[in-house]
Subunit: 239 residues, 2 copies
């Protein structure tokens, strides 16, 4: 039975899974689960994933959610995945697990909370919390600083001094990519000071092309839409 | 060179690592890093762990932080760890990884934020945020419900229907144990409705004795201190 990957391309961990599968020639069926239409909360989807979240996978009777667990599983269970994605060496593997665990309560929490409480809240029709946005920006900025000073130290192009990307590079870079949706001023203020992070994003894009850009097309589309809306609003104010 | 485990027994993931090492006869040296004395932020400790957090381990030149990454590494790299802690079977392992990943943004976030913004803030001399406590309680309660309905389903005594504990059982139960510090009324309101969770905590304590209780002695000591303080305050109010 073919691997099914349940995703919404607007979700950053969904994009990470898709890029990984495509990069490694894994044969899979992409099943669209629209968060905007609340399909992830439908009784039908919840039969497969009781947590009601994307991404998730099913492979025959076996089902799994949580994007890091999925990336690790795909790297270990599917033949032909190059070692650099999730090395067999226990010590290198442990370091990647450490980055992935750290990610949850730091970069992910900072980036997702900031984007939700600035550009996404009005679109999703929920109240934005300006105080939460302020705190999230602090966490996001300190996370980016730590990535630079701790994990991008050395001459490697990727996290942990790697010369080839691992699943941690895909996961963390996909998270940062949601900042594309921000107003250019906010994005520059947050990302601008982190030159090494910007370089690493480019390195990861290059190492995973053409899949990286193809999977991010939905995000780029929304970015353009937001830019046009801002431009229209700004013109109205000038009229 | 002997494994060094850097911990503060007041930290729930530190306790999880200690219980795991003791249960599996791993030869290690426990190095106390007092969070209250800010030893985790000392330049000396940060040379070993630049994130400045406990728990962490060092094994010769190799260093590692993030408790889940540490538990996984110890289970894989040290001989004699029974398979049930972190099964070699890729599918069972993937499910455990899924629980551990979920834990970060759900049970851990809910429990730690709630305890910090109720009983710990006054002790740590930081301002408590009542709104954060309200939201954390919601997340904590919904996390406990999900543990019951999703992972404690079936006849097993442990998560994922297991008949023996895994590293996920230790990690999650240690997290819940910090609720011991709460006022009895608050603790009962939060934990009381979750009979299966209460049973599972007892099963985990039994399966890991005598180490579980020994490692939690510091927590029980603080619990008694808090109870005495509450009792004194209550008597004063009645005078």
């Amino acid at each position: 039975m073919k691997l099914k990957v349940y995703v919404d391309r607007m979700s950053q961990p969904s994009r990470a899974i898709l890029i990984f599968c495509k990069m490694n020639g894994i044969d899979f069926e992409e099943v669209q689960i629209s968060i905007a239409k609340r399909e992830h909360r439908s009784p039908e989807f919840k039969k497969m994933n009781p947590m009601g979240q994307v991404p998730a996978i099913s492979d025959g009777e076996f089902t799994l959610f949580e994007s890091h667990a999925i990336l690790i599983h795909l790297a270990c269970a599917f033949p032909g995945v190059a070692d650099h994605w999730y090395p067999a060496d226990l010590f290198r593997r442990a370091k990647i697990n450490s980055v992935l665990d750290w990610h949850h309560s730091n970069l992910r929490r900072g980036a997702a909370t900031y984007v939700q409480n600035t550009v996404l809240a009005p679109v999703l029709g929920i109240a934005s919390n300006p105080q939460a946005a302020v705190e999230a920006e602090k966490l996001l900025s300190s996370s980016l600083s730590k990535i630079e000073s701790i994990w991008l130290k050395g001459n490697g192009k990727f996290l942990l001094g790697g010369f080839e990307p691992s699943i941690a590079d895909i996961s963390l870079v996909c998270e940062i990519m949601q900042l594309e949706l921000l107003d250019e001023k906010d994005r520059s203020r947050i990302l601008g000071p982190h030159k090494k992070v910007l370089e690493w994003i480019e390195n990861t894009k290059t190492a995973t092309r053409p899949h990286f850009e193809e999977v991010h097309e939905v995000l780029y589309g929304l970015k353009t839409k937001f830019q046009e809306q801002r431009s229209t609003e700004s013109n109205k104010q000038q009229d």
